[in-house]
């Protein structure tokens, strides 16, 4: 910025004084800033401690002992098996070239007690296994605002375990487990108690539960892929006010379970290929005031299973090629099922209820056979999504083998004309003629 003095007009005096004053203030501020900046090394004195062959420290343990709060411990590639490492001050622990931390199937690899710790770039493998304690690759114990990113967890009991930790971020990790039985395996990312945590872009497979949340509030799970886990892709309990979106849950033993929770937002997730006698895309148990929208449920034995839930909105989802798209039990009330697409499911809705206390409205059902005379894109006669046959298979499961039999279709049609055993109140009074197109 260039300032010109002495432009000869009669107002120039005033003007100059003003400009001068402003300049002085900027100058003084700058001076103060420079002074503070020069103080920075004195205040922080952050060191870099390099670990590895031919570096200052041979072991991570040694470097950790020598480090102070705020230092970076930089670990170069190599194989490190140093027993259980404990971090009790704020450290940036960084791996270069994916150094391997091995737990020899005996110990917890890293335990963190200090808030603000940052761990990235390691391959953490073979943590111990215990029936009593929950041993993990990385365990945060009451450590807040920590970041765990870009690590590769391989064959751990629990991979990442957060106990009573908040404001943490776990991102871009690849977590691979080899769980064989539910009792002998741990979870990929396990959070117990905490708030404002973020689980972002991780890929988890082969654990008991991919992601486990218990008493975790105000947290978000975004962009993760959780697949081929033994039990649930995501297991979620007593965790109010959470958000999970853009995740893919695929081929997990029983899909995703969300239980005993209020105010959850689930959007843009994909629930795919969860097959099995007790499998579902998403199970809701005792959920209230939640929103489920823009999700895709594809090829699950049961797409969405709702039990004991109320005031939950299911909107703009697509149910495609599921065995049962939605199974809604009789203890649900005031849930809303609207503007969803039901396509190519074997059964659209199954229920054990005789009364309907939920709103089913304005969905697209590909099994709807009604007409639209007034051309308002809404079918003129209501659709009963609970078919006779779906009811029959509830009562005697073996009749499932008569699926697509002409006789069964005949019964279904007759039932639609004269409902006898299907709940008459279970209906969509405004079924759509064309599927919704979501972006």
């Amino acid at each position: 910025m260039e300032v010109k003095f002495g432009h000869g007009t009669k107002h120039s005096g005033n003007c100059n004084k003003f400009v001068l004053r402003r300049y002085l203030s900027i100058y003084l501020k700058g001076l103060l800033g420079a002074f503070l900046f020069s103080l920075l090394p004195v205040v922080c004195q952050a060191k870099n401690l390099s670990v590895g062959k031919g570096f200052m420290y041979r072991t991570i343990r040694e470097a950790l002992e020598q480090s102070d709060t705020g230092d970076s411990v930089i670990v170069n590639s190599g194989f490190y098996s140093e027993g259980a490492l404990v971090i009790d001050k704020r450290i940036f622990l960084r791996g270069i070239g994916l150094p391997v931390l091995d737990g020899e199937s005996k110990i917890a690899v890293i335990t963190v007690h200090a808030s603000g710790t940052h761990i990235s770039g390691f391959k953490i493998q073979n943590s111990g296994f215990s029936d009593i304690r929950e041993i993990a690759g990385i365990r945060l114990d009451e450590a807040h605002a920590c970041v765990i990113e870009n690590n590769y967890f391989y064959n751990n009991y629990f991979a990442v375990y957060l106990a009573n930790s908040s404001y943490c971020r776990i991102q871009n990790n690849r977590i691979e487990g080899f769980a064989r039985t539910e009792t002998s395996s741990g979870n990929g990312i396990h959070l117990w108690k905490g708030e404002y945590n973020t689980i972002l872009n991780n890929h988890i497979s082969g654990h008991r539960d991919g992601i486990y949340f218990e008493f975790v509030k105000e947290s978000s799970i975004i962009g993760n892929l959780s697949e081929k886990n033994l039990r649930y892709g995501l297991h979620f309990m007593f965790s109010d006010d959470d958000v999970y979106k853009y995740n893919v849950f695929r081929e997990n033993g029983s899909g995703v379970a969300v239980m005993y929770t209020r105010n959850v937002l689930m959007e843009n997730n994909r629930f795919e290929d969860n097959w099995g006698s007790a499998s579902f895309g998403l199970l809701l148990k005792d959920i209230s005031n939640s929103i489920i929208r823009n999700n895709l449920f594809s090829k699950n034995t049961t797409g969405l299973y709702i039990e004991g839930s109320n005031n939950t909105i299911v909107r703009h989802n697509e149910f495609r090629r599921n065995g049962w798209a939605v199974r809604i039990l009789g203890d649900c009330y005031e849930d809303t099922l609207t503007e969803n697409n039901f396509m190519a499911n074997t059964f659209d809705v199954a229920t054990n209820a005789t009364r309907n206390m939920n709103y089913i409205h304005r969905n697209y059902w590909d099994q709807y056979t009604g007409y639209d005379l007034d051309k308002d894109k809404t079918g003129d006669i209501p659709f009963h999504p609970v078919s006779f046959y779906s009811k029959l298979t509830e009562e005697s499961p073996h009749t499932l083998m008569m699926l697509h039999s002409f006789f069964v279709d005949l019964l279904n049609q007759t039932e639609r004309v004269v409902p006898t055993i299907t709940p008459e109140a279970f209906k969509d009074v405004a079924p759509q003629m064309k599927p919704f197109i979501y972006d």
Partner: protein, 239 residues
């Protein structure tokens, strides 16, 4: 007649593919076509054909030709042309639109059903000299296999739902070629539903190599028994 059948299948099939939004629901509609129309046309056409060519067969029998070769010639001529119709009418659209595993199963099941119901047609026609009676019983037979049987099975399964029914279901399905065909395709199509509850059991059975061989052999038995039973009557019959 066979041409009309070909055209019917072709139009139905390509129409369904053209209009269907999701391929698996299209295949379900096609499944209905195969399980209802193919047996009906085969058994009706077979019976009518047999009665119409009665004079011709009598004439042939007057020649020094073996009864067996006349009989099998007639059968292969009939079933062969129907199979051709099926392949053109159904095979071409399937290959064009959806050459998936389930669709190919559909074709195979259609093929087997053609052979089976042609054989059943011959059985009904050699049993009675009266044309009206023959056609009537053919129609009844179709109605029994396509509709009634399933109703009875459904009733049994529902009534005895508290008992372990796995074997019974297998036996019952084996008693109806249409049901075997249906189950075979079902396992390819509605896998997600069938993985639940009891379905997994049947998936385990029919999904394995043994189950496939088993169901195919049952279908073969369904061709052989009526075919040879009819031949026995035909060869001894005083025409």
């Amino acid at each position: 007649m066979v041409l009309a059948y070909t055209l019917l299948l072709f139009l139905l099939c390509s129409g369904l593919f053209y209009l269907g939004s999701d391929y698996s629901s299209t295949l379900v509609s096609l499944l209905h076509v195969i399980l209802l129309i193919v047996p009906l046309i085969c058994i009706m056409f077979g019976t009518i054909h047999f009665y119409n060519s009665r004079e011709f067969i009598e004439m042939l029998l007057a020649q020094p030709v073996d009864r067996n070769s006349i009989y099998f010639g007639e059968y292969l001529g009939l079933a062969g042309s129907l199979v051709m119709a099926l392949f053109i009418g159904l095979g071409i659209p399937i290959l064009l639109w959806q050459p998936t595993e389930a669709a190919l199963y559909l074709l195979v099941v259609g093929l087997m059903l053609t052979f089976i119901f042609s054989a059943l047609a011959f059985l009904t026609s050699v049993r009675s000299v009266d044309k009206a009676k023959g056609i009537g019983s053919a129609l009844l037979l179709w109605f029994y296999f396509a509709v009634l049987f399933d109703g009875v099975v459904l009733l049994i399964l529902h009534y005895y739902s508290d008992y372990p029914l796995e074997e019974l279901v297998l036996v019952l399905t084996s008693l109806n070629p249409i049901d075997i065909g249906r189950v075979l395709i079902l396992l390819k199509l509605d896998t997600s539903a069938l993985m639940g509850y009891t379905g997994a059991l049947y998936q385990k059975f029919f999904g394995t190599g043994f189950g496939q061989v088993f169901s195919m052999s049952v279908l073969l038995i369904w061709i052989v028994i009526p075919l040879f039973r009819a031949r026995k009557i035909f060869s001894k019959k005083d025409l």
